[in-house]
Symmetry: C2
Subunit: 208 residues, 2 copies
Amino acid sequence: MLTPGSLGGVGDTGRVRRLGILLFDGVEELDAMGPWEVLSYWTSHHPADGWETRLVARDKVPVTAAKGAVLVPHAAWAPDLDLVVIPGGAGTRALMRDAGTLAWVRDLRERGALITSVCTGALVLAAAGLLAGRAATTYHASFGELLAAEPTCLPDREARWVDTGDVVTAAGVSAGIDMALHLVDRLAGRERARQVRRGIQYDPEPPV
Amino acid sequence: MLTPGSLGGVGDTGRVRRLGILLFDGVEELDAMGPWEVLSYWTSHHPADGWETRLVARDKVPVTAAKGAVLVPHAAWAPDLDLVVIPGGAGTRALMRDAGTLAWVRDLRERGALITSVCTGALVLAAAGLLAGRAATTYHASFGELLAAEPTCLPDREARWVDTGDVVTAAGVSAGIDMALHLVDRLAGRERARQVRRGIQYDPEPPV
């Protein structure tokens, strides 16, 4: 299994590395599908980089997301992911109390996977004990819940994402797009991340 | 049915207005799910505004999107949408040759629905004859195809989206998020659009 230190390089193990985005009932749609667009654009257009992206869930059955979209996972939980994205959404509150989910996340961490979250996905990382004494961000309205779940967490209310090496957390919903581009930059280099940004024409102009 | 002129107001018909985002095999994920997040956030948090959002498809069966995500539509094609979003993606080239899709889009237009597209969704509007003599945008690499499909179209290569009143086109992929916020602004006002932007924490910071 990959060690965190080797995550900065590309393809040095000679096998395809597995990137999984977690789906669950009540996942906020863009929390999952923003990173999916960025990461699957990268891995499908540049397979020689040695990564593949999948949507994973506890069971391989459709989930109903927070706003009602129905999404079908590609695979059930895998123990051998090299990178996992835990999106946020109302459904994270149930995950925080689900021993199976927390054990899966801890196990991935112990195996050396890079653990990332978007929005209130950080609450799941906190409940799993992964944010003890660690800088992190979450949805703008959820820092109270984050500190309740992990009082030793060091909240960063300004950052769009916080990269602490083996754990990366993003701010709310759309911040997952920025974090995912950062992950491409980190894992495959600046030029590749720019290609992906151009590919999804990510030149945002919020109109209001 | 709604007349285009009444689309600037809110709820003046006394019935719920229907907003549909089209799914199809080969739809680019973020083209559909970016607008979905914005529009479903709006309509689910503010039902009194009088709109509802659905994912629609030709048949009510799962579609496999361009990067491999599997999405389940809520409903089959509806003739009574008040606003439709046609996303882009590799699958649009098949839609451009599909008489049923083109007739459905033309029929919605004739009934007074607001017709919108993201990315290469504009190619479908062009094939349906809706962009004749009209300003429009599309994916940055697809203006040649757009002009081949509709030589009288007036391409706008700089705009993030182009609102020509009864037809609105957005640039590539992530531009659908900006266009959808513009639609909330247009249909429910500036303050509502700002609430939605804050709700999805859309303060983009592309890292590369």
